[in-house]
């Protein structure tokens, strides 16, 4: 069941087109990633969806509610973690959570109970009575996420949730995201960390220069890029002297000697190993490891965004 539907969304700041007629949908319980470089239009898109910015054109529907016309209705069922922490420095963690709950009209007893639960869930109980300004970056991020879910929203928007925090805190936040997904929450996440998107997202949209250039599940995106087969061999013995001979003998492969003892074979066809192993063996070189290299989401991203970015800038030049 689709719970978010974005159609032909457009945002212009003066003459600058930040979001260029994008369309996508999100299913219930899905973690949907919005992946793109800085300035691609990720925050502009999220701000329009949460009511902090007005679209120049297009339509947004969240759980059947028009998010452009009925902003306040939508804000009741969404939780937002912006790219910058938005809690109060002078207030302690507990009071910050209680205050955020009060904005949704939650009674004092309920909001205090929920704040205690969330501090415990996010391992912040000990820091609950300390002012927010004394928290580490990772702790601040976690409390901001806790504040965003204090009213038990149906959908959570996370804008660059792990940017600028330490590795351990980032890992904890990713675990929290997956935990929320397991609780049935629908999650929209923007990030420029490819690995993060690959770990937590069910589906991903690549956005470049305000346009969605590719959208699909992680598996679909990877499968579409697996046009080349890559194999890495590790050998005992030096390959440097055999470089020219090797390339002459196996002309149907693209061969690259990575270092003295490792060889990268790239081919459009599936690579048959035995002739290469036999040939190397005849030269006195023993192959002791062969590993197929699967493309990562980063390869997909570079391939897609690189070519599309060029196309978009090319089009702009033509239009000028």
């Amino acid at each position: 069941m689709e719970v978010v539907s974005v159609t032909n969304l457009k945002k212009k700041y003066g003459e600058f087109l930040a979001v260029d007629h994008i369309s996508f949908s999100i299913k219930q319980g899905e973690v949907f990633g919005f992946l793109g470089p800085n300035g691609a239009g990720k925050t502009s898109t999220i701000n329009m969806m949460i009511g902090l910015s007005r679209p120049t054109g297009g339509h947004i529907e969240i759980f059947g509610i028009d998010a452009v016309k009925d902003v306040k209705k939508v804000q009741r069922i969404i939780g937002v973690v912006p790219d910058e922490n938005n809690l109060y420095d002078e207030m302690n963690g507990f009071d910050n959570l209680c205050f955020c709950a009060s904005l949704y009209g939650i009674s004092k007893a309920k909001r205090e109970k929920r704040a205690v639960e969330l501090l415990e869930q996010f391992n912040l109980t000990d820091a609950g009575k300390r002012p927010f300004k004394t928290y580490s970056k990772g702790m601040k991020r976690k409390l901001t996420i806790a504040a965003a879910i204090i009213h038990d929203p149906k959908i959570l928007f996370l804008d660059e949730p792990t940017t600028g925090i330490d590795v351990e805190s980032a890992r904890q936040i990713r675990e929290l995201i997956l935990h929320l997904k397991n609780q049935g929450k629908t999650i929209f996440i923007t990030t420029h960390y490819i690995e993060e998107a690959q770990r937590v997202c069910d589906r991903i949209a690549f956005i470049v220069k305000g346009r969605i250039v590719k959208i699909g599940s992680v598996r679909e995106l990877l499968e579409n890029t697996e046009q080349e087969h890559k194999l890495k061999l590790k050998v005992a013995g030096s390959l440097n002297e055999l470089s020219g001979e090797l390339k002459n003998h196996f002309q149907n492969f693209k061969l690259e000697i990575l270092d003295e003892n490792s060889l990268l074979i790239t081919s459009e066809e599936r690579v048959t190993l035995s002739p290469i192993i036999r040939w190397l063996d005849s030269k006195g070189i023993l192959v002791y490891e062969a590993r197929e290299i699967k493309p990562s989401l980063e390869d997909v991203f570079v391939k897609i965004t690189g070519s599309k970015a060029a196309q978009i800038s090319g089009k702009e030049k033509v239009e000028m």
């Binding site: 700041y13 701000n47 949460i50 009511g51 902090l52 910015s53 007005r54 306040k72 209705k73 804000q75 009741r76 937002v80 912006p82 910058e84 922490n85 938005n86 809690l87 109060y88 420095d89 002078e90 207030m91 205050f99 955020c100 009060s102 904005l103 949704y104 009209g105 939650i106 009674s107 504040a147």
Partner: protein, 243 residues
């Protein structure tokens, strides 16, 4: 009920986080007190009751315009104001809650000279209901001017600078320092476009027994200013902060 909870907690948070901070408490007491002493030293033969309307109006004006402009600019800079914009409460309620804190602060400011004056003169002849209404209305219009300033600037120091740009001309043109009838003809139309003129005039009538207009007219005009400024503030916030 849910809106009331949100409203009350925003107001409570503002009072606790901003208005009850020691620097602001001292500003709220020292500023009106020093103005009172300054005026008494400058005009030793003047009755303190004669000075009271001006001192009260000035205390409210300075307290409310700067406080609301500074606190909102500060919240915008620290992104915590976005937290409020993301809440499922109407912009009107949000503005009203922020405004209420500044108005309460203004009221406290206004009554510092009154407490001081009570030690030296008899205040029994004052029409207190009119005084309270006038002070509340001056506080509302001043706070809304502060909010308009906050919407137009990005930095806290800009808010303070721009506040002075409005406050000082208003002080000199509203009849506090110089009776309106003595002002040059070219400035008189500006005087009657300032909400402070009507608020001060209402205070003059309630405290000194003399005024240009009837108190009901002054209150009505200040109310109209309040409604207009409230609508203007909401429009400006939507335009400038919900881009």
């Amino acid at each position: 009920m849910e809106t009331a909870i949100a409203f009350w907690n925003i107001l409570k948070k503002d009072i606790k986080n901003y208005y009850l901070k020691p620097p602001n408490i001292s500003w709220g007491i020292i500023f009106p007190l020093s103005w009172t002493l300054m005026q008494l030293i400058r005009s030793p033969n003047m009755e303190i009751i004669e000075l009271l309307p001006g001192l009260m109006a000035m205390s409210v004006l300075f307290g409310t315009t700067s406080m609301l402009a500074v606190t909102i600019t500060f919240e915008k800079r620290s992104h915590s104001f976005d937290r409020l914009l993301l809440a499922p409460i109407s912009l009107g309620i949000l503005v009203f809650a922020k405004l209420s804190g500044a108005v309460i602060f203004g009221l406290v400011n206004a009554f510092v000279p009154v407490v001081f004056a009570a030690f030296f003169t008899d205040l029994s002849g004052i029409n207190w209901p009119i005084v309270i209404i006038a002070v509340i209305l001056i506080a509302i219009t001043s706070a809304l001017i502060g909010l308009l300033i906050a919407v137009s600037v990005k930095e806290v120091f800009e808010a303070q600078t721009l506040s002075n740009f409005f406050r000082f001309p208003m002080l000199f043109l509203c009849g506090l320092f110089m009776p309106i009838e003595h002002l040059p003809a070219i400035l008189k139309p500006i005087t009657f476009c300032l909400p402070l003129t009507y608020g001060t005039d209402a205070l003059n009538r309630a405290i000194r027994g003399s005024s240009i207009f009837y108190p009901t007219f002054n209150i009505f005009i200040t109310l109209v200013f309040s409604v207009l400024l409230f609508c203007l503030c909401q429009r400006s916030i939507k335009k400038n902060w919900i881009l």
